[in-house]
């Protein structure tokens, strides 16, 4: 755990750079985090995914899996790979300021 400054805000992050405090996040931070992993513009579709993740986490205290974003959030998996290339589950969580989804057991 450590603190870092992103978009002028001091925030808590873990050693992989995932934010650890749900309430420290805001949309500006989301844009900045996205640009740090090579996503220069967040479109309405990106926000739909991010907002689903944030809302679902608030209810269940757990970062949703890709399947959950697809089934409950209604965004096709293929589309998530387009929006957040290569590793959508991790990248979405990173941008949304949520813990990395747990490697399943």
């Amino acid at each position: 755990m450590s603190t870092t400054t992103i978009a002028g805000h001091s925030v808590n992050v873990n050693d992989e750079g995932f934010m650890t405090e749900y309430d420290e996040w805001n949309e500006d931070l989301g844009r900045e985090l996205a640009s740090m992993i090579g996503i220069d513009e967040l479109t309405a579709e990106h926000w739909e995914a991010i907002n689903f993740l944030r809302g679902d986490f608030a209810e269940r205290s757990e970062t949703p899996t890709l399947r959950r974003v697809t089934k409950v959030g209604g965004i096709p998996t293929k589309q998530l790979f387009v929006l957040f290339p290569k590793k959508p589950a991790k990248k979405m969580a990173y941008v949304a300021g949520l813990p990395k989804p747990k490697g399943c057991v």
Binding site: T65, L66, R67, R68, K71, V72, T77, K78, F81, P85, K86, K87, K102, G103, C104, V105
Partner: protein, 415 residues
């Protein structure tokens, strides 16, 4: 009379009814268990069938034989649970009412969830070994196989017995060596995880074991489809892996009635408290074993440890007392590694698999995270223990809580 209804007579359901019958007075409680199939399968045995080590009839017993006197067994398919009315409706229209309900219908491989798996190529160039039919068919194919590219892929986590796919690789390596055709076989292990296993330290050990056997490891591979005509496994990020023989571990899902009853998550696993297994929002519904959405391995060993904790809790719960037992997520798995050796891992929600000795600290006889002949015989001897000790609900010489005694804690990975 009060009624306990149990759905599913697999590992968890069978142990639960056998233990509970001894704890619930006959003149106060009836116990009924419903299952769609009359036969119980020793599922850990599936792994050995493709290599001819076990024959299919060695892993089957009639359920009626495994369930204690005083428990009614109904063979039937569940249509829906109506929690508000405390009723379970079967597909044939029968209605069963309950005072307490335990859902133990497991989790099941679903070829239909991935494009191309449930196709005309299944049983030809596409196989699975998590069903008795699949494992049996694969045995016939491997027996006559001349070599080529054998790819094993895990479509999505969680799967039941997450080590079995790795064991399959180790056993395949040994099998082809013994047949003198290892040099004609390319083995590739494909996983959606970022390493060979879910837990960091064990992932390191198991990754090295793949390396030493020259088994290729393809990580972060989210399978989109198996293109059977081109014999190509395709990921969502458009990577392609060619195969001659694909042995797939499909998406695992809980029973469809769980979804229809509004009790499940997106994989139809029942949402429960991870320490007591009480269903979220229902005071008289529990889920045990693989059917529950616990963040631990889906495995018989977990079900067994979990039921130990559950039975005491349940007796408190029906008396209106708070449940004082708390399950710690304890799992242990023998991992068959080929050539007469095996490995053992032991872990829970909070502590990953560590090296050391089990169950007696410093003595064993089993070694954790290490390949030894004793571990192999532990695994092979487990079939007898399963039928004769575990399912009847008899005592094993170690309790449900995981112990860190005899383990080298300093090796815990930092993540």
């Amino acid at each position: 009379m009060r009624q306990l209804l149990v759905l599913g007579a697999g590992t968890a359901g069978t142990i639960a009814v056998n233990k509970l019958r001894r704890r619930l007075p006959d003149d106060e409680w009836t116990i009924t268990v419903v299952d769609s199939k009359p036969e119980h399968h020793y599922q850990p045995g599936y792994l050995f069938i493709p290599f001819g080590t076990y024959q299919p009839d060695e892993v089957i017993k009639p359920k009626a034989q495994l369930i204690t006197n005083g428990v009614d067994l109904i063979i039937g398919e569940v249509d829906v649970v109506k929690p508000d009315e405390s009723i379970v409706v079967l597909v044939d229209g029968a209605e069963l009412s309950y005072d307490q309900l335990i859902i133990a219908t497991g989790t099941h491989p679903r070829l239909d969830q991935t494009e191309g798996l449930d196709s005309r190529h299944y049983g030809e160039t596409i196989h699975d070994f998590y069903t008795l039919d699949g494992a049996t068919r694969l045995a016939e194919v491997l027996d006559g196989w001349k070599g080529g590219r054998l790819v094993v892929n895990i479509v999505e986590m969680p799967i039941k017995c997450p080590v079995a796919a790795l064991e399959f690789m180790f056993l395949a390596d040994a099998f082809f060596k013994e047949r003198g055709i290892r040099d004609k076989v390319e083995l590739t292990y494909v996983t959606p995880l970022d390493g060979a296993f879910t837990k960091p330290l064990a992932a390191g050990y198991l990754g090295d074991m793949l390396d030493r056997r020259q088994i290729a490891l393809e990580t972060d591979f989210m399978t989109m489809e198996a293109d059977g005509d081109r014999k190509m496994l395709v990921s969502y990020d458009e990577r392609e892996i060619p195969y001659d023989l694909l042995v797939t571990v499909p998406v695992n899902m809980g029973a469809d009635f769980v979804d229809r009853s509004g009790l499940g998550d997106e994989l139809n696993h029942v949402e429960v408290d991870r320490h007591t297994f009480l269903s979220d929002g229902h005071d008289n519904i529990f889920a045990l074993g693989d059917a529950a959405n616990l963040p631990t391995s889906k495995a018989g060993s977990v079900a067994h440890f979990a039921v130990d904790v559950f039975v005491d809790n349940f007796v408190q719960h029906i008396k209106g007392l708070p449940m004082t037992g708390s399950f710690d997520g304890h799992a242990n798995c023998f991992i068959e590694t080929g050539n007469g050796k095996g490995m053992l891992i032991d872990f829970n929600y909070d502590v990953e698999p560590l090296p050391g000795k089990y169950p007696l600290p410093g003595i064993g006889p089993f070694s954790l995270l290490k390949e030894t002949p004793a571990n192999h015989w532990g695994k092979r001897g487990f079939k007898w223990t399963y039928w004769n000790v575990l399912l009847p609900g008899r005592h094993l010489p170690f309790g449900p809580d995981m112990s860190t005694k005899g383990k080298r804690m300093q090796e815990m990975a930092s993540s």
